[in-house]
């Protein structure tokens, strides 16, 4: 059995304050294998990778590599690299100001007479690029290459540095189909050369197109290790979602009862922000929860940012409650009773240095204007109200919000927006990176808000989560809104089909049927 086994991780555990990120997880990788690592957000995929590459300290468990007769512990990505483990991220970690060739050889440049031998670098680079069928000029600055090429160059660098385990962490998220194909060609080529590839992705299609094996994680635990041919899509989805699947069905049915169409709150016609989102029409009715989905980089966040004025619209019209409005900055949107919970909590959400109280009242204060400062009492009451209402766990309201856990930070931001009493809430990935309990709480809160007549746009990369909460889902692809699904069309498969846009009918009906049988 040991034949061809390249990497084996046994009983890996890792805990963070408040969260058990990994519990007793096993993972193994063979030579010449493309191995998908699948799971919802928060399943523990990136933690596992980070433990393997030495970004996180190994807490318990054992990592063994082929050819090394003792357990391996990597303390840094560099150390992992010398052990033959390289990672290529979605955000390329190369230097954009240097040339392609130089990026390939940085830190290990060949020398002649004590000086860097540029001729050799460029010649060898050409050879490497040619051998891997990467169409890039060695002399071109990396920043001028497309993202796909940049990623391939990162891979080429890893391969040329004798990497045996290549980790691709969501490399396809911002690539178009053609670029993805090129990347896959490269992956297959490397597989043929005996490299073991760990492929982290959200996209089922891609898994079935290129992978040999699948390891599924859920809530930090191992669900199983499967051969691709023996695991139909629907089963994969079920394994990823696990027991929760039944829960959502329940909530879902509840939801179906309440959302009767009323008057429109948001009517966008041909709204666009040049370069990020193509003109789209979107009508959202009062009390409705509309979901936005699409691959990362498909324009879901960009669409709501344009409505909210975070990105200034470059065309189209927007009506709020039937009145034409001109929203060019967030404050305009806020004055039209909109609220926006951004995707990146750390960067765009919390003001880490400020207290819970200040974080909660800031949006309302900004709405009121500089010269109408809320009284201390008013602030404290508002803060206490939402700390209680949302069950924010904090020792007291004057704690810096940065000292709270992720889920509680998210609740603070939610409280911030609820305080402004908005008619329309945009929630961009409100449940990302927070613990399961808080996740469910937030989902329930969203449903409650809709029942109270608030209008919500809900974005999540967890489709099942949206199925649970939304009565309608709009799908985006490449910055274009490509469809809306309601009623019976609201299934995982339909959504995936719309996202992919090119699945064959046969395949579709097949999976549909299977799902029907399964659920």
């Amino acid at each position: 059995m040991n034949d061809g086994l390249l990497l084996s991780m046994r009983g890996i555990s890792k805990a963070f304050p408040g969260v058990q990120a990994l519990l007793n997880v096993d993972f193994s990788l063979h030579k010449g294998e493309i191995h998908a690592l699948m799971g919802e957000n928060g399943a523990g995929k990136s933690t596992l990778i980070k433990v393997l590459t030495g970004v996180y300290e190994l807490e318990s468990g054992e990592i063994r590599l082929d050819g090394i007769d003792h357990p391996v512990v990597n303390h840094s990505p560099q150390e992992a690299q010398t052990n033959g483990i390289s990672t290529v991220y979605q955000e390329v970690n190369l230097c954009p100001n240097l040339t392609v060739a130089e990026n390939l050889f940085l830190g290990r440049q060949p020398k002649k007479h004590g000086l860097i031998d540029w001729k050799t670098i460029n010649r060898k680079s050409s050879e490497i690029l040619r051998s891997l069928d990467i169409s890039a000029e060695p002399g071109k600055p990396l920043g001028e290459c497309s993202l796909a090429i940049q990623q391939m160059i990162a891979i080429a660098r890893a391969v040329d540095m004798q990497c045996r385990v290549l980790i691709l962490d969501e490399p396809t998220s911002s690539l178009d189909d053609e670029e993805v194909e090129k990347l896959f060609a490269l992956m297959r080529k490397l597989r043929g050369e005996g490299v073991g590839i760990i492929f982290v992705t959200h996209f089922l299609d891609q898994v079935y197109e290129v992978c040999d094996r699948i390891t599924v994680l859920r809530n930090g635990e191992l669900v199983g290790d499967y051969e691709v041919e023996k695991l139909p899509r629907v089963q994969l989805v079920a394994k990823m979602l696990g027991k929760e699947f039944d829960d959502l069905a329940d909530i879902k049915s509840e939801r179906q009862g309440s959302g009767a169409a009323t008057e429109p709150v948001i009517e966008a016609k041909g709204l666009t922000h040049a370069g990020t989102i193509k003109p789209f029409d979107l009508t959202i009715n009062q009390g409705e929860i509309i979901g936005l989905t699409g691959l990362l980089g498909s324009g879901r966040s960009e669409l709501v940012r344009t409505i909210y004025g975070a990105d200034r619209p470059t065309g189209g019209t927007l009506k709020v409650k039937g009145k034409a409005v001109n929203i060019t900055k967030p404050l305009d949107a806020m004055k039209n009773n909109m609220a926006y919970l951004p995707e990146d909590r750390k960067r765009d959400g919390v003001i880490a240095d400020l207290s819970v109280r200040e974080n909660i009242i800031l949006a309302l204060q900004a709405k009121r204007g500089m010269f109408h400062l809320m009284s201390r009492k008013e602030m404290e009451e508002a803060a206490d109200r939402y700390i209680n209402l949302l069950e924010i766990k904090t020792p007291d309201r004057e704690k810096p919000v940065g000292s709270l856990s992720g889920g509680n930070q998210q609740k603070v931001i939610l409280g911030r927006w609820l305080l402004t009493n908005p008619d329309y809430l945009i929630l961009d990935e409100p449940t990302r990176g927070i613990d399961i309990g808080t996740k469910t709480e937030i989902q329930k809160l969203v449903l409650k808000m809709a029942d109270e007549g608030k209008t919500v746009t809900f974005i999540s990369s967890e489709i099942e989560e949206m199925l649970r909460t939304c009565s309608r889902i709009a799908v985006l692809r490449d910055g274009l809104k490509v469809g809306e699904l309601t009623g019976d069309d609201l299934t995982q498969v339909r959504i995936m089909q719309t996202i992919a846009g090119n699945q064959t009918d046969k395949e579709a009906s097949e999976t549909d049927g299977k799902e029907g049988a399964d659920v």
Partner: protein, 352 residues
């Protein structure tokens, strides 16, 4: 684990609040040991007299600058190093208007209020220039203000035509001297006035909160409807205005505009005051009172060093050392290293 972090936070807020006072007391202690009559205040020629009075009086310009520097630091996470030069610009414009363009004058050629306002407008323009570079173009504050740091005194020289302009009129000496029979020096009133007015603005409007919000997370602030560009810009204009006031006061003390020496090295003192006041030099939450105490501490230190026969030219050596000690203590990396050392395990500190 959770308990220790909670305790640490408390400790940090505490030390932040107490650091400026502790430093001040330390400096005062040294003084008392050196000069036993340090706290003695007497009345000479109808005005208050003594070491303490001298410190409070001399610190006035620095207090004014420190107030503005605190706001700029909080909003933009950087410091304005042009304040001294802007003081010189304001002083030279003020004196030049009062002297009607002559090198020296014994009668006022224009009402003081006109000259005062003109000087303030000029300094606000300087502040606006810095603010534009920082907030609109997003240039690092110190690089942006480096431009006026060097060009400012040149501009002041051009205004005074390379001379020292004297305004030998008693009315002009009031701002740096005494009002009528009041025994307290006028600059003290300026300093107190500025502190009170700015504090009132911060207490009565949301500006303080906005500044802290923008300084600690500009991107999030924008999405909450705050115009971070405008708020940053505003803090630079305020600092410009305050530098102007400080410049005129400084020039009134010596009833002249000495473009080379007015406000010399004060940028360093102002930054030092902000740091001593327990403020994080990379922005966010601020402590205005801390900065004011910091400013008095610096002046006390300066006076002490003078008393120890350190020349004005040599002062920066000591202040530079104090600055480095403070920023090292503030550095998270340094704190991490100390903690690691305490825990007795070598933690490899990786960049990024």
């Amino acid at each position: 684990m959770k308990k220790t972090t909670g305790f640490d936070w408390k400790k940090i807020t505490h030390s932040r609040f107490f650091m400026p006072i502790v430093c001040l007391l330390l400096v005062l202690l040294v003084n008392v040991i050196q000069t036993p009559n340090f706290f003695a205040v007497s009345i000479n020629n109808g005005v208050l007299y003594g070491y303490l009075v001298d410190i409070i009086n001399r610190a006035s310009e620095l207090v004014i600058l420190a107030v503005g520097m605190t706001l700029v630091t909080a909003s933009s996470g950087g410091q304005d190093i042009s304040v001294g030069a802007v003081m010189a610009v304001a002083a030279s414009i003020c004196c030049q208007i009062l002297s009607g363009g002559a090198v020296s004058t014994n009668t006022l050629m224009a009402p003081i209020i006109i000259a005062f306002i003109a000087a303030l407008v000029a300094s606000m323009i300087c502040g606006a220039f810095n603010g534009f570079l920082v907030s609109v173009l997003g240039i690092q504050p110190m690089v942006a203000t480096l431009i006026l740091f060097t060009a400012g005194r040149g501009i002041a020289q051009l205004v005074t035509k390379g001379q020292i302009t004297y305004v030998r009129v008693d009315a002009y000496k009031v701002m740096g001297g005494y009002i009528g029979k009041c025994p307290i020096p006028t600059p003290v009133f300026f300093a107190i006035g500025v502190v009170i007015v700015v504090n009132l603005i911060l207490k009565k409007t949301a500006l303080g909160l906005y500044i802290e919000s923008v300084g600690s997370n500009g991107s999030a602030s924008r999405l909450m409807g705050l115009n971070s560009t405008r708020i940053k810009f505003l803090t630079y204009v305020i600092l410009g205005l305050l530098s102007g006031i400080a410049g005129v006061v400084a020039s009134s003390r010596i009833y002249s505009a000495d473009a080379n020496n007015i406000g010399l090295n004060l940028e360093m003192d102002a930054i030092l005051a902000v740091a001593l006041g327990g403020n994080n030099l990379s922005g966010g939450k601020f402590n205005l009172v801390g900065s004011v105490i910091g400013a008095y501490t610096i002046q006390a230190l300066t006076t002490t060093l003078y008393a120890m026969k350190v020349s004005a030219d040599q002062l920066p050596v000591y202040k530079a050392i104090v600055v480095i000690i403070i920023v090292v203590l503030q550095s998270p990396t340094f704190q991490k290293k100390i903690r690691a050392m305490r825990h007795g395990k070598a933690v490899a500190v990786n960049a990024g």
